[in-house]
Amino acid sequence: NEECILQNQNVRVEIDAQGNLGHIINLKKSLAVEFHNQGFYWYQSFPGNNSRSEFQASGAYIFRPVSADPQPVSTTRTITCIKAENVQSARIVFNDWASQEIILYDEAEYAEVEWTVGPIPVNDNIGKEIILRYDTDVNSGNKFYTDANGREVLERTRDYRPTWNYTVVETVAGNYYPVNSRIWIKDQDKQFTILTDRSEGGSSIHNGSVELMLHRRMLYDDALGVGEALNEAAFGQGLVVRGRHVLFLESPAASAAYHRIGAQRMYMHPVATYALIPQSYPSYS
């Protein structure tokens, strides 16, 4: 029942014996962020009736959850803690179709979360939209920040639009924004930034919370032109997807220097090629 503590020269990640992410600590800056209930949740897709907007189904174009409260994908989880010199990691399995690996490489200034989701079960005839949520003690209020196709990062305010009087109808979907490369929340002392390895949808539905939409599987078309449900059942069981989040904890003033360099490392990562070599090393060299 020991904790799984991942620590290098710059970052400490604390995960308890039940597989709950507890803290990420920036050791050089003495900054800490506390997490509550970090993990996978799912929204139930609105089935709709394929006709008018007020009855519109959640589908490829439309995110329309039935409830504003996503459900955890499991109540228990298993954790495997791996420690080596180059890398330390915690593999946390939530259920048969959702798991994450929290990874800390030697000398890295960030933690990675490699998530794996799918095939999403729909044999209960309920469409599901899977998020990974980070609930933190960052006092971010109703503001969060998302990029716009890798260009200007814009401040988003929950339940608000800067250029018109906004009436809240969709409490979750109405606050979702594209996250092409990064999303962050911050308070006076610290900024929690997540880099994504692909375009995702994301939001901050509560103070201190960040969630990102990872995978969706639905049984109804949203009647906006595709004519097929976003089901991806061509191979009989739906798709498995795997991706990465890179987590930075820094002061607000220093964060840009870290997430910009981190983003370049991520999006312009080295290209690996492999070659079969017939010679032994002395001959090859």
Partner: protein, 178 residues
């Protein structure tokens, strides 16, 4: 013009929001096929470039092709996973030198040499059960060999892998708890 196939496939995919699911499944398959063909064509360009960059001065270009592995995210690279010897060449497209931890899925233990010929720290990290049961994964690799690569700005380094022939005492300790 060999990279045109990939740039066109990327252009089509981006223009049509191909990652969003707003296309019929048959169309998604078509996008995937176009990207796959583009990547294959791009691999020819990589080989043409390395045939100029890799030979030592005064020597003929190596005839060994450079291959891509598209499934290393699920710890699968069938080309090298159980070979006696192979190289991994890492190209850094940024204008800064980078340190990058790299994973190679393998079925056995290897000695990894850096470009100067020095053996470097490499560790076998077990592939997770979740990865092993991903539908479509055919690899028998049980481990990822993790090592740290040091790459020059806008340049490359080649790392040489040689299978260990006998039980060598493990220098690195990997501790696993459940």
């Amino acid at each position: 013009n060999s990279i045109f196939y990939l740039s066109e496939a990327m252009g089509v995919a981006q223009h049509h929001d191909a990652v969003s699911g707003t296309e019929k499944q048959e169309v998604a398959f078509d996008y995937a096929q176009r990207l796959s063909q583009g990547l294959s064509s791009g691999n020819l360009v990589i080989n043409q470039a390395y045939s100029r960059l890799l030979p030592k001065a005064g020597q003929p270009p190596p005839s060994v092709p450079q291959l891509l592995c598209h499934l290393t995210n699920i710890s699968e690279c069938l080309t090298v996973q159980d070979q006696t010897r192979f190289t991994v060449t890492l190209w850094n497209p940024t204008i800064q030198p980078v340190l990058h931890h790299f994973r190679v899925p393998v079925t056995r233990a290897y000695t990894v040499r850096d470009p100067t010929g020095q053996p470097i720290l490499s560790e076998l990290i077990p592939v997770s059960d979740q990865t092993k049961k991903i539908p479509g994964r055919t690899s028998t690799a049980n481990n990822d060999l993790v090592f740290r690569a040091s790459l020059p700005a806008l340049g490359f380094n080649t790392y040489y892998f040689e299978a260990k022939t006998e039980e060598e005492p493990a220098k690195a300790q990997v501790k696993i708890t459940h």
